[in-house]
């Protein structure tokens, strides 16, 4: 048998493999090139970008948890103009799908940022309506159907680029939010963003994060993510990009069986920077070993009891 085809097509964008570096864990793709070329990945979802530069939250911004981390970076980023002028040209010279991840404090912010990106050759826009770490905007959009729909609608009108809406798990029923953004023209959804959590230093009685609360990610959230991806895959027709605690090729395959057309890997990179590369290689081996010709054949193929 010839080598299996692990390329995927997400809303018209071809990824040579289904592995995407998750926003916020991979910067703008510069930091890991000492270890391997960025082109080993199918795509990169860049650090959450806002219309204007943002300083982020006061540190500490990270706390370790059993099998994961809490973070409260607070969207520190150099702004969309910096992204367009400094990062995008470098990224576009490489064979990798470039996804801009955008956030804002108002609908107008999202609109303007998306409109600016519409003029560029970025491949896709991921709408972050689920950041738990900023006081304005962020997750406030993502926790109601009306809020999620209104941001999606505004951005849909501002750009012809494929839009992927990143959903928060901190809701009663994530499928309702997914259906709401699908109805407003989202081309894909990605999930899950982090689960809101908290750690306290029992000696100082202070929360470890200066923001008091932050987002939980890492292997700890993986089963929650698999469940939500499966539910959303069954609720919408648009592609689902799965993320949340993926740390191996086996995890990526599991997420795809649950219904993910591609996956994002984030926190696991902090433990082992090679995880995205190993996952891409491992997925190919899984397909070979099981006589499967192309990766699309396993998407959503879980056999529920």
């Amino acid at each position: 048998m010839s080598r299996p085809d692990i390329s995927v097509n997400i809303c018209g964008v071809r990824l040579k493999n289904p592995i995407i570096a998750a926003s916020g864990t991979y910067g703008f793709g510069e930091e890991y090139t000492d270890l391997y070329p960025l082109e080993k990945l199918g795509g990169i979802s860049c650090k959450g970008t806002t219309l204007l530069p943002k300083d982020g939250n006061i540190p500490p911004r990270i706390a370790e948890t059993p099998s994961g981390i809490l973070n409260s970076v607070g969207l520190q980023n150099p702004g969309v103009e910096h992204f367009i002028n400094e990062d995008l040209p470098r990224l576009k010279r490489q064979d990798i799908a470039v996804i801009a991840n955008i956030a804002g404090a108002s609908i107008e912010d999202y609109e303007k940022t998306a409109a600016r990106l519409d003029e560029t050759d970025v491949d896709m826009i991921e709408l972050n309506i689920s950041c738990p770490n900023v006081k304005q905007g962020g997750a406030t959009w993502g926790v109601t159907c009306a809020g999620a729909a209104s941001v999606t609608k505004a951005v849909r009108n501002a750009t012809k680029k494929p839009i992927m809406v990143k959903l928060t798990p901190n809701v009663t029923d994530i499928t309702e939010i997914a259906k709401a953004v699908e109805a407003e023209g989202a081309d894909a959804v990605s999930l899950i963003n982090t689960l809101l959590g908290m750690r306290i230093d029992i000696h100082t009685r202070r929360p470890i994060l200066h923001n008091n609360v932050g987002g939980l990610s890492g292997p700890a959230v993986f089963p929650v993510a698999v469940r939500m991806v499966w539910q959303v895959h069954n609720a919408v027709k648009i592609p689902v990009i799965g993320m949340g605690g993926i740390a191996s090729a086996e995890d990526a395959v599991e997420m795809m069986l649950a219904g993910a057309s591609a996956v994002q890997i984030g926190t696991a990179i902090f433990t082992d920077p090679y995880v995205p590369v190993k996952a891409a290689e491992g997925i190919e081996k899984y397909l070979s070993d099981n006589g499967i010709e192309k990766i699309g054949d396993i998407v959503g193929q879980v056999k529920p009891w």
Partner: protein
Amino acid sequence: MSYFCGSYPIIEKTALAGQIYSYTLHCPEAAEQAQTGQFVQIKAEGYTLRRPISICSADKEKGTLRLVFEVRGGGTDKISRLNVGELMDIIAPLGKGFTVPEKPEGRALIVGGGIGAPPMLDIAKKYGESCTAILGFRSFDRIILDKDYAAAGANTVICTDDGSYGIKGTIAAPLKVELDKGDISRVYACGPIPMLKAAAQAAKDAGVDCEVSLEQRMGCGVGACVVCACTVIRDGRRQVLRVCKDGPVFKGSEVVFD
């Protein structure tokens, strides 16, 4: 300059003081690149985050890195169970180190607090006798590397908070004495924030360049996640930088300590 990620053999392990360990690894490529003041990210089996540990000394000829760390929790405890002959998984060397002139002029003043003492040992080796190291510790039983600094030729001054050895109190008094001598060309500091602040201020008052090594809770360690933020005034502008990639070493005069 580049960094590496891999598992390297442990060729030496010693206990320096209660819960403080010294490891020497054979990793020629990282040792070759290492600059004084840089750090490594050590994998702790079973933990999500690696532990950032400063490089105490790099020997380019022998191809070795020496790492000194204190066990502070489960992760560092796990790492401290590794023994000679086993492998340590590290990402190294990382960050921006101290500015150490190729041909030192004048005298260097090294100020180290507790587990902040290790990353400046190679500065002492460079300056030899043209260097004073003021090292502060909680108590006699917490003193580390005093003999290493002395062996490098540094005039080594020890302070303890409880007066159980050397000068009683913080490094502030001997720091002033040394700076008042007027022949210090550079101050290097690593330790708790109040100590760094005091060293930076004293150096500024004396009109001497000062570099400080900062510590902050880190994520990736390579600059990608923007977790380990610190605020500096640089080019007349307030900027939030990354301790891991833009530092850990910064000019004492540019750091906003509060």
